[in-house]
């Protein structure tokens, strides 16, 4: 399958660097790809995978390093230039224009129609008409069309980003077959996926990123999954439970406060059941896009579930608006602070917002009571208030504290924290773990999704692992070291239950 040695690699990226302000996203990322080879690009959340991909496809410019195609250095500055150099990406989000029909979309990017039809056929999509409007086609079909479009222009390097996400099993099989056959015919592929089963079935090698650097490049063979997980974890392996934690998880007693059964929502969340008790911090562990967003949104009343049930203290609930969820005690801190904050308004107005939300609270604000609640919240969270006039002047960590402080000021029953420590400094992270533990010890329940696995043993009593929209494992805090969590998150401990 691979070319004989001696031939220069088709794509050769060496020592690629990229920083955003003071944040270093890539230190030393490298990747080589020979003709006819399929290489998996792997890395845990925050390893720099998406930055690397954006640089390879010309969407970002590197600060250092070289990228050679057929031995010639390229300096692709735009995605279009990268495509002309022979690198064609297929992203997770379909890049077709919804308001145009298929034919118009093909014309827009000069895709030859006959090869496109051939590939659509090969990939198992029946009955597609060129005058179908893109906006009316299902997501799975759009992803196949994107792939067919990429194949039709015969790129030298095809880059597939989570190609099989959102595809039904039969289409996944078709895609894998076609990609494999293409590689055998000389096509080179960079394959980005969280699914080990597909990687071992499809790929020749795996390149592993950790902390912005390539830490390994290994051939795919029996038992390589364990090696890859070790490489992704690096020093964290074997460290086990994070130092300085005093979580003593007690077996939950009595009926749960929040009882979720067979919840499904959107295209990603298919079947999640969990119990959240008083005084408990329940971690949620999942790779990106496994349905955790939908789970939190459904619980917060932001999104309606398509099936399943949510019970609060034994009463079945149906949330039509976040206000319904808040009335039931479910308060939500979303992952994106931009969705939670009034950036131009003061810390006080941000924290006091839920206090005035109901129509009965539209009158004169009890200023003293409000000031007391806001001051309490600021003190509990140790928010730095020197720049409190406008929230946008605060640091990311302080902004995050404001979004949590809002619910402290109203009184917490059940807190839904979605990745509350993303992109904030270590000291603030510690304060947030402490706060979460403190709230739980006061009787609150916390559902805590985090993209940093190391946080689970520090903040949570138990963790549910979600993969492909389903709960695949429940892990006690005592056992929740990073390797265990990561294996579970990749669906490794429950492999036999996974499709294909």
């Amino acid at each position: 399958m691979t070319e004989p040695t001696g031939a220069s690699p088709l794509l050769d990226a060496r020592g690629v660097k990229k920083h955003f302000g003071a944040v270093i996203a890539l230190r030393d990322a490298s990747l080589t790809l020979k003709k006819g080879e399929i290489v998996a690009l792997m890395g845990a959340n925050g390893a720099g995978k998406s930055t690397f991909v954006k640089i390879l496809t010309g969407a970002l410019r590197p600060d250092g390093g070289t990228i050679r195609i057929r031995g010639r250095e390229t300096k692709a500055r735009t995605p279009a230039e990268a495509q002309r150099a022979g690198l064609m990406p297929v992203y997770q989000e379909p890049s077709l224009i919804p308001d145009l029909d298929v034919a118009a979309n093909l014309r827009l990017c000069n895709t030859p129609v006959e090869p496109f039809r051939h590939w659509v056929d090969q990939l198992g999509i029946k009955g597609l008409r060129l005058d179908d409007m893109i906006g009316q086609l299902p997501l799975a079909t759009l992803r196949i069309l994107d792939l067919a479009r990429a194949l039709a222009i015969e790129p030298e390097v095809l880059m597939l980003d989570e190609m099989t996400a959102a595809l039904p099993t039969d289409l996944v099989e078709r895609v894998l077959q076609v990609v494999r056959a293409q590689a055998d015919a000389g096509q080179s592929v960079i394959y980005i996926s969280h699914r080990f089963t597909e990687i071992s079935e499809l790929c020749d090698r795996a390149t592993v990123l950790r902390d912005g650097a390539t830490v390994g490049d290994l051939p795919i063979e029996e038992g390589v999954e364990e090696r890859i997980v070790e490489l992704m974890l690096g020093a964290a392996l074997g460290a086990g439970r994070g130092a300085g934690t005093d979580v003593t998880s007690v077996a939950p007693e009595g009926p749960p406060r929040v009882k979720v059964r067979n919840l499904a929502a959107g295209t990603k969340l298919s079947d999640v059941s969990l119990d959240l008790h008083r005084g408990e911090v329940l971690g949620v562990v999942a790779l990106e896009g496994q349905g955790q967003d939908e789970l939190f949104e459904a619980l917060a009343g932001v999104r309606r579930p398509s099936s399943g049930s949510i019970e609060i203290d034994g009463k079945a609930m149906s949330f039509h608006h976040p206000d319904d969820a808040i009335a039931a005690g479910l308060t939500f801190v979303p992952g994106d602070r931009g969705d939670a904050l009034l950036m131009q308004r003061s810390v006080r107005e941000n924290i006091a917002l839920p206090l005035v939300a109901r129509i009965g609270k539209w009158g004169a604000i009890p200023m003293k009571d409000e000031a007391r609640r806001v001051t309490d919240a600021i003190e509990r969270l140790q928010i730095d208030t020197r720049a409190q006039g406008e929230v946008q002047r605060l640091s990311g960590g302080n902004q995050q504290k404001v979004t949590i402080g809002r619910w402290i000021a109203t009184g917490v029953e059940t807190l839904l924290l979605f990745d509350p420590t993303r992109g904030i400094d270590v000291r603030t992270k510690r304060q947030i773990y402490e706060l979460v533990r403190k709230l739980a010890s006061e009787g609150a329940s916390v559902l805590f999704y985090t993209s940093e696995l190391g946080e689970v043993p520090m903040a949570c009593d138990r963790a549910v692992v979600i993969f492909n929209g389903r709960v695949v494992d429940v892990i006690e805090a005592a056992d929740a070291d990073e390797p265990t969590l990561l294996r579970a998150a990749y669906g490794l401990s429950a492999e036999e239950e996974l499709p294909a």
Binding site: H321, P322, L341, L342, A352, L353, R358, R393
Partner: protein, 325 residues
């Protein structure tokens, strides 16, 4: 953790200071304009002139309250002038039939109705406020024309109480202040110290954030546009007391100045920023500017060009001075 405030360069610090106290540059500008006026016509700056300026600025400032409140949520109310005209016209034609108090009530009802329709369209049909209020404004004008045909025989009367309020003076002060001072205090207090006021800023700043905090936006929009209609109606009644001749386009010339007054006063048309105190100064600035341009004895066309240019320049500079982004 250091705040940016201590390390920010001078220019940013000035911008922040002005951002925190946006009234200061506006008041400076107002007095500068008065200074120019006094320089051109020495002695013009007297009690009588001040009274007149205030008298004409008040209806404008009240109509601009509609723009300020809706702009805080990222909206606008282009039907305000029509609602004001309808209130004035209906009231004036009903006085002889039902008496003054009842005529005032009947006059205000269609203005509130227009506001409710605006609120409904913005909240439930998600029509952009610009289009929604433009549409209801046109419909309102049409209805008023139909209404005029029915009441053509009645004739119109401006009640003495409204003339007193619109044009009268007591100890040199315009009587309109009796209405306007409590109105302005209520609004400035309400925008900061009531839940409703806070929600206007919240919705204009980030509707998603307001939603996940439990705010049901439709309730706020419905109440807001109805309130805007009511304020428009009241300012129409006041204005007809000043002009004393109800017509089908009575308040229309004030519409775009009312938007300009709110914008010059520092309210962002994108929402979340600003307030009524700035709008009042904005209305005064526009009124003084109007006097100034009249005194220049230019042809009407040139005056309008200059008026437009000055509004654009003031707004641009002001946004530069106070906006951090």
């Amino acid at each position: 953790m250091t705040t940016e405030r201590e390390t920010a360069p001078m220019g940013t610090r000035i911008a922040r200071f002005l951002g925190d106290y946006p009234l200061i540059p506006l008041i400076v500008l107002l007095f500068a304009l008065i200074g120019v006026l006094e320089f051109m016509r020495p002695g013009i700056f007297n009690e009588r002139w001040i009274g007149n300026t205030v008298k004409f600025a008040i209806p404008l400032a009240m109509l601009a309250a509609c723009q300020t409140l809706t702009m805080l949520t990222g909206g606008i109310d282009l039907s305000a002038a029509v609602a004001a005209t309808i209130s004035a016209f209906v009231m004036a034609t009903q006085v002889q039939l039902v008496g003054v108090p009842m005529a005032i009530v009947i006059g205000l009802l269609p203005a509130i109705a227009i506001g409710l329709v605006n609120g409904f369209g913005v909240a439930f049909c998600r029509v952009h406020p610009l289009i929604m209020t433009l549409g209801t404004g046109l419909i309102g004008t049409g209805c008023l024309q139909v209404y005029q045909r029915f009441v053509i025989a009645t004739g119109s009367v401006i009640p003495d109480s409204l003339s007193w309020l619109g044009t009268g003076r007591t100890w040199g002060f315009p009587n309109a202040l009796v209405l306007f001072v409590p109105f302005a205090i209520l609004l400035i207090w309400g925008q900061r110290r009531t839940g409703f006021g806070r929600l206007l800023y919240a919705l204009g700043s980030n509707e998603t954030a307001a939603r996940i905090s439990g705010v049901r936006g439709w309730q706020v929009y419905l109440a807001l546009y109805a309130l805007s209609g009511l304020i428009a109606g009241v300012s129409g009644l006041l204005y007809v007391g000043l002009i004393k001749a109800p017509s089908l386009s009575l308040v229309n010339p004030l519409l775009l100045p009312s938007v300009a007054a709110a914008v010059i006063g520092g309210t962002s048309i994108f929402g979340g920023r600003g307030g009524y105190s700035g709008t009042i100064v904005g209305a005064l600035i526009l009124t003084v500017l109007g006097t100034l341009l009249t005194l220049l004895q230019m042809p009407e066309g040139a005056r309008r060009i200059l008026f437009g240019l000055i509004i654009l320049a003031v707004t641009t500079i002001y946004i530069r001075l106070t906006d951090q982004r």
